[in-house]
């Protein structure tokens, strides 16, 4: 199995990449390629050309300086193995360790995951919970987009066809974050994933919190009701129970032959509880 014909470009700079994308509206960016190439092999995608970002060195790298900044072409393996990240925000390395498998981690990139916006991806939810934003460069220059606004719908983002996602910025200040994943036995994707991040103040009172759900919705989605159930309170058995009871409220849950929407809704509650228990 292999893709149909296409052209191939390997630009040396973001500006060059943008030009290539402008010139060919049917071209697609390939980052790690581990979502796109399988889709092309199954002939579910047939771009006219690929614009391979792997030659742009500036898109790789991790820096921690209050904020965490990760280049879009940074691989899961680099995140998984980064001592800096393990110290600053260990949830990222933990999540990377459980994305796909080691070979996927060698290739898959954080920027690619966000730009693809798979409804069952892990990092989309984790980055929403962490309040991350991305930088994107297009013909009109650079802009910053909160991840929550980047993810529009199933496999759809607010990036323009000729825009390149360049960097992911995670603001500092998170006290603790956790991700609870129920894996699909075959694909390894999240059947339900719940990411939670909190900022706690005096006496363990939660000043701010974000919970994001993946796997069971068309895109990573905030569980606002659950957040409100414990913001302003310490994380306790009661506040956690209250949050998990309402975690699936308002979610447009999907189901398939492996797991129904009802069951996924139930898991959202259980996994929210478990994620928050890890933060308490």
């Amino acid at each position: 199995m292999f893709p149909s014909q296409f052209g191939y470009h390997k630009p040396g700079s973001v500006a060059e990449a943008v030009k290539l994308l402008q010139a060919d509206p049917d071209a697609k960016i390939v980052a790690g390629g581990h979502s796109l190439i399988p889709a092309m092999k199954l002939r579910l995608a047939a771009p006219s050309a690929l614009v391979d970002l792997s030659g742009i060195e500036s898109l790789r790298g991790i820096s921690v300086n209050g904020n965490v900044s990760i280049g879009a072409m940074t691989t899961y393996a680099q995140i998984r193995d980064s001592a800096k990240l393990k110290a600053a925000l260990p949830v990222l390395a933990d999540v990377a360790y459980n994305v796909g498998d080691p070979q996927v981690q060698s290739c898959g990139t954080l920027g690619g995951s966000l730009a693809h916006n798979d409804p069952a991806a892990d990092f989309t939810a984790v980055l929403v919970a962490l309040g991350a934003s991305v930088k994107a460069v297009g013909p009109k220059g650079e802009r910053t987009i909160p991840v929550e606004d980047l993810l529009v719908d199933l496999l759809t983002t607010s990036l323009a066809e000729d825009e390149v996602l360049t960097e992911i910025i995670i603001p500092g200040g998170t006290s603790a974050a956790a991700y609870e994943k129920f894996r699909h036995p075959a694909s390894g994707y999240a059947v339900v994933g719940v990411a939670a991040a909190v900022k706690t103040g005096k006496g363990g009172v939660v000043d701010d919190a974000k919970i994001a759900i993946t796997g069971c919705t068309s895109k990573a989605t905030r569980a606002h009701a659950a957040e409100q159930a414990f913001i302003g309170k310490p994380l306790s058995a009661e506040s956690i129970a209250a949050a998990s009871a309402v975690a699936a409220n308002g979610l447009d849950l999907n189901g398939d032959h492996y797991a129904s929407a009802d069951y996924r809704g139930h898991l959202v509650g259980v996994q929210t509880r478990r994620a928050l228990e890890r933060l308490a």
Binding site: P3, F6, I37, P38, K41, S54, P102, Q103, V104
Partner: protein, 165 residues
């Protein structure tokens, strides 16, 4: 009536495989695994699925284990690839190969090259992995024959051999 197929553009690549540099002109869509198997005749790397699950095609690219069915040959341009054929030096098996032989870590042998490459990559990262770490590191490699128990033992044995035990 015209035939709606884009021109088969070919792109020159230079890829070093098992220490030998090869130059070729390839279609952009040529998968690395097909480059290895069909262009170079290195048929030890196998294909067992269409969807990047089975890992039979696992090779090293620039020092990391990857699935060569999900990487284009053009993406490997300028890179260094090691396949199963590149592990043994003459009749001296790599410790991972030796471990698989000693512990009966294979039956039909189809998944074995990929399994060995992934195990090798694990031991490069983590010379003394726990059983759980071994099982986790092999999530991208499916075996239908062994039930994995002897593969785990093979990796443990390989870790001993690498440590000179």
């Amino acid at each position: 009536m015209g035939i709606p197929v884009p021109m088969a553009t070919r792109i020159p690549v230079r890829i070093t495989v098992n220490g030998v540099e090869y130059a070729a002109e390839v279609e952009p869509r040529l998968l690395l695994v097909h480059f290895l198997r069909d262009n170079l005749g290195l048929t030890g790397t196998h294909v067992g699925c269409d969807t990047s699950q089975c890992g039979a095609c696992t090779v090293y690219l620039n020092g990391q284990s990857i699935k060569s069915c999900t990487v284009l040959a053009v993406q490997a341009n300028g890179g260094e690839v090691t396949t199963i054929e590149g592990l043994a030096v003459g009749n001296d098996y790599d410790p991972v190969q030796q471990g698989f032989w000693e512990m009966h870590g294979l039956q039909c042998g189809y998944c074995t090259p990929g399994m060995i490459m992934s195990s090798h990559a694990l031991l490069d990262r983590n010379p003394n992995p726990s059983e759980e770490e071994i099982r986790h590191a092999l999530e991208g490699n499916l075996c239908r024959c062994t039930g994995y128990q002897n593969i785990v033992k093979a990796v443990q044995r390989a870790a001993e051999l690498r440590a000179g035990k």
